[in-house]
Amino acid sequence: MGKYIIKKLILLIITLLITSFVIFLIFELVPGDPAVDKLGTRATPEAVEALRVKWGLDKPFILRYFQFVTSVFTLDFGVSYTYGISVSNLLKEKMVINLFLSVMSLMIVVVVSFPLGVYVAKHTGGLIDKIMIPLNQTAMSIPSFVLGLLITFLFGMVFKLFRPGGYVSYKADFGGFLYFLIFPAVALAIPKIAMCIRLLRGNILEEADKDYSLTAYARGNNTTGLLYRHVLKNAVMPTITFIGMIAADMICSGIVIEQVFSIPGLGQMLISSISTRDFPVVEAEVLMIALFIMVISFITDVIHAILDPRVRI
């Protein structure tokens, strides 16, 4: 087990190195000098040079890349070109918002889709199963930002459960902050719930057809015992990987959802820094998101190994 985790950790670090290099290289290849962009073409060469030194652009490429990689651990991403304050200060608050949003909607996905998926698989061909199939397909095809618009209209304007656009900062009112996040979290979760239910149902049915299930059935298990004691353990594996992928995807769909609910999160920061070509912020954000995704996939791998001894070999 320890060996497996170490192997995965090493892989994680290698992936991180490659990813950060690619990200850094891409933004390095962009034509134009950020210092000139900031000061305008009429600025004196001395002023431009001074700014370049201040931003550390005068150092060689490798040195700056090394700084960029270590910044993951020191959390020092340099200074934002537009705002003039350190990037980590800028991003800290946004990341808390996105973390809460993703975790919340992930919890909704798990809590809703697992019981429903198992139920639907157990009662295949039943009434609920027959209703669920078209419902699932429809829910899967609604983009989450459209759902967000619908939720804003329905719950914000018709039922008046929350004030559209009335984001509450978590520092001012934590309860209100969590309450406000429920709605975007639901909008993010619904398409994923549909996918999860479908995957879980398919997996359970597939596992139930295998020989070991037949053997277990022949040994006198009833369907419920068969399902919970034998089939579910195997069927849940791909779903866990899938939930890891969902977590990664949530950060991305979150970017769009933020816009719908006017939440000042990572996404809005990303969009604004892209349009102002504030590259230190963009680099740091993309790297943090990629790191987040890698950590998620690492965690799913570890959970896999804990649940399934065969993976560890």
Partner: protein, 273 residues
């Protein structure tokens, strides 16, 4: 050669998508102009002349939805073409030959695979600027990783089969083996991958345009329409509902074509290796 099988779901999907295409083509019969502003019609609700109503500049939403959907589909179509071409070639070469190039390419693709395609597209847009051509390119590049990964696992499996070995013995050129002999045998996965990619592209394009960094005005895609309408959700909900319904129907149709067990199949394939 196994034929691509049609079931009830796929037929429903094809029907919905054809209806959508007819809807777009009917746009050419629509007399209303796409971008002429009309002061008298500002935020007018649905009427006989303008069945979907008019937007904040008095433009006919029906016509805008038809054109916008056409643009969405065109952008997605070309990005899928780019992604499919490069994805298949990379996947086929990696899967068929294996070896060190395969290892290197696959580790790079694994890294790219870890970054969601919307984020990848965002990065490209930030580099090349926003606009229709840039978005098409960005989305095309963004789907290469997942596509080549799926194609690679298929080609790997086929490589070990008898008919490929026979073809090799008969001294048939590698390119012919890859694309004339093997490709038809992995057609089902290929077609499903194409439709899943198409689905993702439409979603991502709508997302990018919704954020305002996709298709730029005066052109509009479904995402732009929805983002414009978002500001008027209080006073004119029909502005959101009609384009939204059309987008959902389009995605539903494409989803149904690529659906059935194949969805689960395609995803579970991602878990292996």
């Amino acid at each position: 050669m196994n034929k691509y099988k049609l079931n009830a779901q796929k037929i429903t999907g094809i029907a919905i998508v054809s209806l959508m295409i007819i809807f777009i083509l009917a746009g050419f019969l629509n007399r209303n102009s796409f971008d002429t502003m009309n002061k008298e019609l500002i935020l007018k609700g649905p009427s006989l002349l303008h069945p979907f109503g008019c937007d904040e500049f008095g433009r006919d939403i029906l016509k805008r939805t038809q054109t916008g959907m056409g643009i969405s589909i065109a952008v997605s179509f070309f990005s899928v073409c780019i992604g499919t071409f490069f994805g298949t070639v990379i996947g086929a070469l990696c899967g068929y030959f294996g070896g060190i190039i395969d290892d290197i390419l696959m580790s790079i693709i694994d890294v790219l695979f870890a970054i969601p395609s919307l984020l990848l597209a965002l990065v490209f847009v930030s580099l090349f600027g926003s606009g229709m051509v840039q978005v098409t390119l960005a989305l095309g590049i963004a789907i290469i990783p997942s596509f080549s990964k799926m194609m690679r696992s298929e080609f790997r499996k086929q490589r070990e089969l008898e008919y490929v070995k026979m073809a090799k013995l008969l001294n048939i050129s590698t390119a012919r083996i890859l694309f004339v002999h093997i490709l038809p045998n992995v057609m089902e996965t290929f077609v499903n991958c194409v439709f899943i990619a198409f689905n993702n592209c439409i979603l991502a394009e709508a997302g990018l345009s919704f954020l305002g960094i996709g298709v730029q005005p005066p052109l509009a895609s479904l995402g732009t329409l929805l983002s414009d309408a978002g500001g008027y959700i209080r006073s004119a909900f029909y502005m959101v509902s009609f384009p939204a319904v059309m987008l959902i129907l389009l995605l539903l149709g494409i989803g149904l074509i690529s659906s059935g067990e194949s969805f689960h199949h395609a995803y579970s394939k991602r878990f292996k290796n």
